[in-house]
């Protein structure tokens, strides 16, 4: 999706940094607006930069104050419960990623084991499998056998039900 891979570090070059800031700030405001419209939720953004003493805000100073007031009307516990700084947010992303990773590896394991199963059905030996593999293979076979039994029952029901 990204055309040029960006290195996530402070941009040393002044003019590059400034133009990046302008571009990304605009994009950020746009995304904030889209979220607000698509999901019909209260949103606000405040951006301070070294280029301007005045902050850039969305949607408007008045609206920002309203949303902030809404936030501050909540109990401190509720306010802080989903409040994040950069560290918190990145940690959240890492957690999500590790969950995705685990899922992906489970899927791969399942695919590999399925291959092994079919190889064995064709007659390939399995002396080379370790305990862990044998366990997984056993479970996979159970799973498949149950699925086949269900399917057989269904077909028999249809047949007997008189189509």
């Amino acid at each position: 999706m990204t055309r040029t891979k960006v290195n996530l570090a402070y941009i040393a070059n002044d003019s590059e940094r400034k133009s990046t800031f302008k571009r990304r700030k605009k994009g950020l405001m746009k995304k904030a607006e889209e979220l607000s419209i698509l999901c019909a939720v209260d949103t606000c953004a405040i951006i301070f930069s070294p280029y301007d003493p005045e902050p850039d805000v969305w949607p408007s100073p008045l609206e920002v104050q309203r949303v902030i007031a809404k936030l501050r009307n909540m109990s401190p516990l509720e306010q802080n419960r989903r409040m994040m700084d950069q560290k918190d947010f990145i940690r959240q992303q890492l957690t999500r990623l590790s969950e995705q990773m685990a899922k992906q590896q489970r899927e791969i394991r399942h695919k590999e084991m399925t291959n092994v199963m079919f190889e064995c059905l064709k007659g390939k030996g399995f002396e080379y499998l370790n305990m862990s593999d044998l366990n997984d293979l056993n479970n996979l076979l159970s799973q498949n056998i149950r699925a086949i039994e269900r399917r057989i029952k269904l077909l028999e029901k249809r047949h007997n039900g008189g189509d």
Binding site: L8, F21, K25, G27, L28, A32, E34, L35, I37, C39, V41, D42, T43, C44, I46, I47, F48, S49, P50, P53, E54, P61, V64, Q65, K70, L71, E78, Q79, R82, M83, D85, Q86, L94, L97, M101, Q104, Q105, R106, E107, I108, N115, F118, C120, L121, Y128, N130, M131, S132, D133, L134, D136, N138, N139, L141, N144, I145, A147, I152, L155, H159
Partner: protein
């Protein structure tokens, strides 16, 4: 709209009709918004706060250096607007033209910020690393799919069982039960041999790391061999660790 979803599609800028989609969209876009904000902070040294209320009325906020700091800074410069009328009230009309706050000369605060920034950099690196690994795993998955598709030795039983007739199903079932029995016997053999401390086939046919992630089986530390002939060595813990598994520790301890 195209029949087959060609990746991203244009979406109409109006409240989403399906509630379930709305919730999913909120979750994703909120995360994406915070991500963009975080990047802007890192790349350009901006200081940002974002507040978003969820459809469930919960308040999500992101701030750098903190939500509170930015919000207070904002409020201290924009006094409440005058109520009604366009009558100029010199104190209340204009936002205070304060200069940006000078860099804090307090060295303790600077040190704290330096620490924070370093921690963020470290986490960012971990994140990039984790993303690359996930990418690699996904490619692996694709590779396996491709291999199966292109394999010429596919038999009638390979594939969804819905396409099989009653007779074939019965046949397949018997074959599987048979195999299962044999697998059980082999497992028993392996177990006995392990207990007696003899040399046991510990090589996993497949990249050993994945076995440990499923959390199944003990397996003495062994050498994982994948189809390509690469060898992945286990560590002394008895878990076969691939580089993938290793980096997933994030310094917070392994499985």
């Amino acid at each position: 709209m195209a029949r087959k979803n060609k990746g991203r599609q244009r979406i109409e800028m109006t409240r989403m009709s399906k509630e379930s989609n709305l919730l999913v969209t909120f979750s994703k876009r909120r995360s994406g918004l915070f991500k963009k904000a975080s990047e802007l902070c890192t790349l350009c040294g901006a200081e940002i706060a974002i507040v978003v209320f969820s459809p469930g009325k919960k308040a999500f906020s992101f701030g750098h250096p903190s939500v509170g700091a930015i919000v207070d800074r904002f409020l201290s410069r924009t006094p409440p607007p005058p109520r009604g009328g366009s009558r100029a009230s010199n104190r209340r009309d204009q936002p205070l033209p304060l200069p940006p706050p000078p860099p804090n000369p307090n060295s303790a605060v600077q040190l704290l910020e330096a620490h924070r920034n370093a921690a963020v950099r470290e986490l960012s690196n971990q994140l990039t690393e984790a993303m690359n690994q996930l990418e690699a795993e996904k490619k692996r998955g694709e590779g396996i799919n491709k291999m199966r598709r292109e394999s010429k030795e596919r038999c009638w039983w390979d594939g969804p069982i819905d396409g099989l007739g009653l007779g074939q199903l019965e046949q397949l079932k018997v074959a599987m039960e048979d195999l299962k029995r044999n697998v059980g016997k082999q497992a028993e053999r392996v177990r006995v041999v392990e207990e007696e401390g003899l040399k046991v086939p510990t090589a996993s046919f497949y990249a050993g790391g994945t076995s440990s992630f499923v959390g199944s089986g003990s397996g003495a530390g062994g050498v994982g061999v994948d189809g390509g002939g690469d060898v992945k060595v286990s560590d002394g813990l008895g878990l076969s660790m691939t580089p993938h598994g290793y980096a997933l520790g994030y310094g917070c301890g392994f499985f």
